[in-house]
């Protein structure tokens, strides 16, 4: 779970970095989108690499969800099912809202990712923004974020991801054995919050700028 989670965080950071290219110019963004499909050409033909990359990601997602399901089940059983104490007080700084709601933020993320893939990869046409329009792939993005409904959906989804990562990132390191002292714990926690915040803002900057017409 920790390993797949970290792989997914790294993917997110790259994804976010690529998205930000839209701030430079539409051409840059389209060039980058095109590049993704031709990586390792001509050693590998066409978008082979992209598909390999997608397979790895999918594997990570599947493993992550599978282990999440296992842990959730084990933990639910471990605490003895529903209705445990009549009062329960938390004393740990790590017992955050994010930590308690990992499974729910996770489910929101899964639902969002399905929508997101349908919207931009699998069936963009169904969302009214085909990727072969005049502005290429960037056009897709502009069409989508002109609509306030998608803005709301994306804010919710990014909040979920931010929460998920803010506990998940440090927790992954702890599970991999990196929590070696009180100080490291503080550093890891801070990094975790930072990564969560970076992802939240990094992903939301382009949609908002598009919505308010700062870039077009």
């Amino acid at each position: 779970m920790a390993v797949t989670g970290l792989v997914l965080v790294i993917f997110l950071l790259f994804h976010m970095f690529g998205n930000l290219k839209i701030l430079i110019s539409v051409e840059d963004f389209n060039h980058y989108a095109g590049f993704l499909r031709t990586i390792l050409n001509p050693i590998l033909p066409g978008d082979t690499f992209l598909w390999m990359f997608r397979c790895v990601l999918l594997l990570c997602v599947v493993l992550h969800i599978w282990s999440a399901a296992r842990v959730t089940k084990q933990d639910y059983k471990g605490k003895g099912g529903r209705g445990r104490y009549s009062i329960k007080k938390s004393l740990s700084p790590d017992n955050t809202y994010a930590a308690r709601t990992m499974i729910w933020s996770g489910i929101i993320i899964v639902l969002f990712v399905i929508m997101h893939l349908l919207q931009f990869t699998i069936a963009p046409a169904a969302f009214g923004n085909p990727h072969d329009g005049p502005d290429g792939r960037a056009g897709m993005v502009f069409t989508a974020f002109g609509n306030w409904i998608f803005i709301v959906i994306y804010v919710i989804a990014m909040a979920a991801i931010c929460l998920h990562v803010s506990h998940g990132f440090w927790s992954a390191f702890a599970t991999l054995g990196a929590n070696v002292s009180g100080l490291t714990r503080k550093v890891l926690r801070a990094c975790s919050l930072l990564v969560g915040a970076v992802i939240f803002f990094g992903f939301l900057v382009p949609p908002f700028l598009i919505f308010f017409g700062v870039i077009n």
């Binding site: 605490k79 104490y85 938390s90 702890a174 054995g177």
Partner: protein
């Protein structure tokens, strides 16, 4: 002073439990929490009612037999800024205000079935140790105690982990009912010492495997365990366990034969 109590009463493991209200007069601040329960029990017995069953033995905070959840905190140590490290027997009534209401519940976790009232069965913790929490040396087979020098820092770290009293508060506090802090304390204790090395790889696999098989939850790094631990076993111990567990995956001597 006068105290209102809400206490978990459950006749045995099969019946349902519920919270029952009592009111107790004549409590003094110098009494320990368990002496307060003794007083309640004397009064209940005089009235011909069944006294509240609870575990305790040494009453000086070292045997680990006592332990109840007090106002939502295992062992009830809750300071303003930081948790106060205490066992239930070392908590004194002066920590409570006159007229306050105290809710007392047993440890609750799948691996700790309730036997009666506030008493639970913690033998699962013994099973975890049984799976490998020891160094295999037969009596009489030991070399001279000075045969091996041990780095003081490592020896001290072993000691810090070895102070675990096996009370089970970590399991009671964990939202997942996990025993990771308990298991990791033993792993860390033995992993820090040269004597513990030959069995180190196999030990961690067996103990973690046994812990899962016994129905304890998994660790999600919430940290409630370390916050209530009366002996201050640090959360780092769990990372030590994880490191050893990951390392064991890549070592041949980690295979059970």
């Amino acid at each position: 002073m006068k105290i209102n109590l809400r206490i978990w009463r459950q006749h045995n493991g099969k019946e349902q439990g519920r919270l029952v209200q009592y009111s107790l007069d004549g409590v003094s601040g110098d009494m320990s929490f368990l002496e307060m329960l003794d007083l309640l029990n004397e009064q209940l017995t005089e009235k011909g009612e069944d006294p509240v069953a609870f575990d305790s033995d040494c009453r000086e905070g070292i045997c680990g037999q006592c332990g109840v959840v007090i106002n939502g905190v295992p062992h009830g140590g809750q300071g303003v800024a930081q948790p106060v490290r205490t066992t239930t027997c070392q908590l004194h009534m002066r920590s409570f205000a006159d007229g306050s209401t105290i809710t007392i519940e047993p440890w609750k976790a799948a691996a700790f079935p309730v036997l009666r009232d506030l008493i639970v069965d913690r033998s699962a913790l013994d099973r975890v140790i049984e799976a490998g929490g020891y160094i295999s040396v037969n009596t009489g087979a030991a070399p001279d105690a000075h045969a091996v020098q041990i780095n003081k820092k490592r020896s001290d770290r072993a000691f810090d982990a070895a102070t675990c009293i096996g009370c089970g508060a970590c399991v009671a506090a964990c939202p997942n009912g996990s025993a990771m802090l308990f298991t990791s304390a033993k792993i860390t204790h033995l992993a820090m010492l040269p004597q513990g090395q030959p069995e180190r790889v196999l030990r961690v696999k067996r103990m973690v495997g046994e812990q899962d098989a016994l129905g304890f939850g998994g660790c999600t790094n919430i940290g409630e365990c370390a916050a209530v631990c009366p002996k201050g076993i640090p959360l780092e111990s769990i990372s030590q366990l994880n490191r050893d567990l990951i390392a064991s995956l890549f070592k041949h001597d980690g295979k059970d034969d």
